[in-house]
Symmetry: C3
Subunit: 321 residues, 3 copies
Amino acid sequence: MPRSIQLNAKGELTHLLSTEGLPKAILLRILDHAKDFLDVSKMQVRNTDLLAGKSIFNIFFENSTRTRTTFEIAAKKLSADIVNLNVNASSTAKGESLLDTIDNLAAMRADMFVVRHAQSGAPYLIAKHINQVAPHIHVMNAGDGRHAHPTQALLDMFTIRHYKGDFTQLRVAIVGDLLHSRVARSGIHALTTLGVPDIRVVAPLTLLPSGTAEMGVRAFTNLDEGLEDVDVVMMLRLQNERMRGALLPSPQEYFKHYGLTEQRLKRAKSDAIVMHPGPMNRGVEIDSVVADGAQSVILSQVTFGIAVRMAVMSTLNGVAA
Amino acid sequence: MPRSIQLNAKGELTHLLSTEGLPKAILLRILDHAKDFLDVSKMQVRNTDLLAGKSIFNIFFENSTRTRTTFEIAAKKLSADIVNLNVNASSTAKGESLLDTIDNLAAMRADMFVVRHAQSGAPYLIAKHINQVAPHIHVMNAGDGRHAHPTQALLDMFTIRHYKGDFTQLRVAIVGDLLHSRVARSGIHALTTLGVPDIRVVAPLTLLPSGTAEMGVRAFTNLDEGLEDVDVVMMLRLQNERMRGALLPSPQEYFKHYGLTEQRLKRAKSDAIVMHPGPMNRGVEIDSVVADGAQSVILSQVTFGIAVRMAVMSTLNGVAA
Amino acid sequence: MPRSIQLNAKGELTHLLSTEGLPKAILLRILDHAKDFLDVSKMQVRNTDLLAGKSIFNIFFENSTRTRTTFEIAAKKLSADIVNLNVNASSTAKGESLLDTIDNLAAMRADMFVVRHAQSGAPYLIAKHINQVAPHIHVMNAGDGRHAHPTQALLDMFTIRHYKGDFTQLRVAIVGDLLHSRVARSGIHALTTLGVPDIRVVAPLTLLPSGTAEMGVRAFTNLDEGLEDVDVVMMLRLQNERMRGALLPSPQEYFKHYGLTEQRLKRAKSDAIVMHPGPMNRGVEIDSVVADGAQSVILSQVTFGIAVRMAVMSTLNGVAA
């Protein structure tokens, strides 16, 4: 999949599809810009009219009330008009038909598409097509299959920078179902771009993707070892369907070996932060005491996420160029 | 369940969860304030920008298009941003998980939650938790199980005052499925607070809750007797599932004994008003002739309901303090 | 069904229910007004605040995300508040109950209802009732059964005028499932009113309604003959359920005889335009080469549709009187 499709001829961000291949300067500018929308002392997000009169379509081929809501709020706080569309993926099973749907929505004169799709690569296909037929429309990937979830990665980077400052001194462990996680994939690309020298992934062998070494990360199957002296622990959600499958014995067994407990967290630095993209499976991948503990920044991630999505939207619209 | 959670330390309304324990002064102030949003001569509701820039989340764990819409319109007429969330109750079966959902939505920086839930007490649980984690958020109960439906009660009180004036001279009969009705419970508390001296409930024995005497109401199983000389008749909706159950013989049998007909209405005062929270089962609890008759104020209730919800929202936001 | 219900005593448009009986002057005025919202050179739709403070309810008794979205966008571009309601048709099976729903929504003080319903005539029933109980509300038909889809017809007329100018010199062929098509019915009425001298319908005998001659159109069962020298080809969508029924042998067989191919299109004038209301069944009623070809104006129809719906909404609200 070509990555340069995210950038226009001048090298500016015109779609946000993946953190893979996203230039460091653009990534940092989005993080900087997100701060403009945030009153950090009160953890409040500011309203602006930067996108007044713009139409943003939330096109969800895969249902996700929570993610859809974060984009909806970001759009409203920018004074944009937002239209929610739950598109039944079954009615657009054929690629050709997907593009007919997109053509149709583009002809309704939207300014931006937020796209969520169960199939990896669908937002790329859409952006590539949009560049041909309606180049004024910007596409944001809100999660595609196992592939990417770039706004989640950006809000994770915002969170890490907020609490830890300099990326180039950090040790970060990503723990859980690496094999199926678009959050992990997008996070690793962003961490790498930002110069994090020590990125670790921790999972049982059945949930570790091949090729981690090529991505510049170190793989651990032992959680205690993986957490040793890290600054940041990024927990991943264990999808329920995995627990019932052949990949894992049981949620209890998983928690025993890979659940983040207070005890285990002591292996990390004493000021390490704990992150999670939500929704959490308490007692499976994370203990409640840790989820609600002093080192948890999980809810801050959500608040930062609104500001980060506002930053991406206004960057794409050229308002914050 | 503690009721004082509705009020802050200064005794001001900070959540609206129930009419039980709601001070008379606050109740009256909401009714007064609702008039500000109403042009009664034209039965029109005014638009204002009192809540411009505020985010209100309509969090419906139990589906109800009609009720959701009334809050949505009220919010829009106040120029607030409204986000609709249909949350699948099954995904939040565990109390802990419910609060994780709430934490997450609170972190999206809403200013108000409108909560509908099939379980009695859920909005209390949420308000209590919100007071700990995000005390700037106001919670409105849009109906919880069999427990309470305070905005319905407030709009009912507004309607009664509009047509009848002084509460302290009134006879009010509430007719129907008292046992399962949150509308009735909330109504009785409000009527009591406002000093209505004669509150009656009328229902077959199987649908009469125990403890009506403790609530200060008189119970009747005979509709003609219950309606004698009343000023206000509040009909309740008979849920379809009750009719099929063991509690009632059949809709026809119910109508024969408890349906409000023109004939029966003659027992009430000649200027008595007829109310119903909707949706109506015509020919079951109410005859069409009565529903559409000169004494019916059922549609006025709906219009008043928009203004009353606007009054509650702006009161909670401190705008109309 | 009385048609004059669309017009008030002064002959002004007060509801839009059908193109049947719609006076030519009103039809043309809507087409003219739609241009005000369009920047044709850029194919952009303008935002205005003509309907600021107005409430429009999208009441869809039949689900249609795409059509609902076009009305939602039109309303938002006029700065109106729009409320989406998916009303389960099963809960309003009885006519009486449908009107209770309508009464209730009217009492919420909407200014306009956009109604989609699977049953022919439902919007008429609603408009007739609204005239009695809430005459300030305007009703727009967004498609009812096999009966009418007037905004589709208006946008089709806008498209034809945009590309072809004078209606009185045109040959127009409507091709496909005439029997079940509200798009075709509404289109034929509008074309007739606008003075198109040669209107043809082309379909297999099983999909040709009786009485085409009375409507002033010529029927063809041979596509080549029907397309001869036409200026406009209006393709209809073949509903999937028809293909499986007794009416048609198979999609392949249909395409062989009635699918619009490049070869067949050569029978029409060399500058003929090809239209389709969407969504298309490529390879069934239309070949992809034609759908995406130089003569296709299918996506322009969508853009024009937003402007036309804005024109109808503002005309009804008396803003553009």
